[in-house]
Assembly symmetry: C3
Homo-oligomer: 264 residues x 3
């Protein structure tokens, strides 16, 4: 579909960023970031669009990488802009399936032009300095003893099940049984799920167990595509990471969630 | 499908009105009227069912014409009845797709019998004199300098987009560029849409621009079928009219919306 | 699909009940019971699972029978357990279409293990003595003079239509006209439906008419499958019963609703 440039909008002559991407790819990527934060710093590096963000309570972090290959066209020089995630997502949601979204940065006037078909939306940018400092990427690489890979739908399923009885959930690996397990206990009811290694796409077992908040896990599970493979890293009283592909496999997203201290 | 007459309902012997119409056609037509008013005067003229109505604030008007051809059967003598639009629509919504709705007027007892399959609904009529005087049809024929035709889905799209940033929207035509444009400005974000003449089903250009309330446009856009062609007439600080076919092309509907005075 | 036993859950060695049933069958059956009560006594007799329950106001009753044939496997010795219907239904709703739900009773620890795929949910049981005494089954066999059979979708339709004008509805049979009728009267509008014998799957006519609460009928109509045949028994100022098949025709459910005294 051809990109339109509205005659009523004046685009910058030599924009710092000029990119075009399939609307569904951008929509899915913004949902990942929006699961955790309302505003984010978006780095438009020459080789990739990157977001690193921490939630206001510093309990969870998200990392999103959309390399140039995720785009139809990608020209960027390394600018970092402050984005209202929900507003940008709302504009993108006006696109029809298959539409391209064009992003043109007017660095001088601090505006991002979002062009979809005959629509030109001018998004006012936020001062990146006013947005919470993102996590150092190195901090998201914990030295986790155990890892496994399961389907997105299984993540949703164990979160939904645990959510029926409690506000927190234990995720662990039984190295002997080569099984990933999920446990939640309520006043009258308990929930347990067990995924033996042979039902998982991958499992590097080592004894591990940590407790996590379901309020967070529910939000993180929402944008994970049901059919995607989710790589998890687990330790003992360590954060869990969930990594999965976005944008038709061209990009990657990782959530990191800190453990909750066990209730005595 | 055969029409049923409930043995528990006594229909008038020689009814002033006896008509039958496809449920979807009636449903769609009532949605158009219901976008603007809760109650309306319905004229059951010998050659057509007609509604003319003005919203309580006198900002917008609607005109609906369902000629006899829109019906499976249509016998009427010119009565005008007062209808609770929402209640009649609720009855019609009980029909299955393809069902016929039969309307039988009991003028003496001021009731409209609405028959759908085995269901006989007796709708109490409202005194037409108690309903706000409709607009003189002549008042809906403004001498607008410019006109254009676009798809119903585009009307929804520009209303939704403008609604994201403001409570009012500018609709205009740039005669030189032969373009229909839509603009809305918010505190941080702006929206602009441009429909060049070659993308429109029709365009009779002349410079025109008026400001309209999005609260109204949102309601008016809702019942317009996405696939229909919508003929618009525009002027400068003049009302806009939106006309489109209803009831599988057998009937016509027109909305008229007064301009809002520009905020200084 | 193979049943999984979670390694993190210890099932009783020789359980009093061990049964497996298609998730949709159980879901549908629980919806029938849940239309009337939040908690129920469930009898796990050797030949069938049975529920008899009365709503808190003693206006309506439900009877559900799922014989052993409704299950993939059914081993039970006659225990009666107290179940939180909504919570059990929520667990079952986590199953995918075609999944089996396994129910294992730990009588000693008063827990029901509900196993779905890799999920093991441990449902705390309620003391059956703390649950309202169910109706004597004999009380649900009224000596009704008239009976008829119509489709589930028609039950929904007459309830929805009557609900538009009133809080109660008259159900009756005109023996002379061989017609089942439904009537409701409101302040301005009336509703009447007539189902002649030839449009019904069955009709044993006798003059009958009783008045019922729509608040109850609305709840009872909800879980009745639209395509099912519903056998009704009616009398004059007597309860109505609605019976229909559940679990792909292997089980049966009956609702009984007491009449409302006519408003003078």
């Amino acid at each position: 579909m051809p990109e339109a440039v509205s005659p009523t909008v004046s685009l910058p002559q030599d924009p710092a960023v000029d990119a075009a991407i399939d609307a569904d790819r951008l929509d899915e990527s913004l949902a990942v970031v929006g699961a955790l934060v309302d505003e984010c710093r978006m780095e438009l590096a020459p080789e990739a669009l990157r977001v690193r963000a921490v939630d206001p309570a510093s309990v969870a972090a998200v990392s999103l990488d959309l390399p140039a290959e995720a785009f139809e066209r990608y020209e960027a020089g390394g600018e970092t802009v402050g984005i209202d995630v929900e507003r940008l997502a709302a504009v993108v949601s006006l696109a029809d399936p298959g539409d391209l979204v064009r992003l043109v940065l007017d660095a001088e006037r601090r505006r991002l032009h979002v062009l979809v078909g005959e629509l030109a939306y001018t998004l006012g940018l936020i001062d990146p300095e006013a947005i919470r400092e993102p996590l150092d990427p190195a901090e998201m690489n914990y030295d986790c003893p155990a890892s496994l890979t399961l389907e997105g739908r299984d993540v949703s399923r164990f979160v939904d099940a645990a959510d029926m009885v409690s506000t927190h959930v234990r995720l662990g690996i039984d190295a002997g049984a080569e099984t990933f397990y999920v446990e939640a206990s309520g006043d009258t009811d308990d929930v347990a799920l067990a995924f033996p290694g042979e039902d998982l796409a991958a499992l590097s077992p080592a004894d591990a167990e940590s407790l996590f908040s379901l309020d967070y896990l529910r939000e993180l599970a929402r944008p994970i595509p049901v059919g995607s493979e989710v790589a998890m890293e687990l330790g003992t009283e360590q954060p869990v990471t969930l990594s999965f592909a976005v944008a038709d496999g061209t990009g990657t997203a990782t959530f990191l969630l800190s453990p909750r201290r066990a209730v005595a």
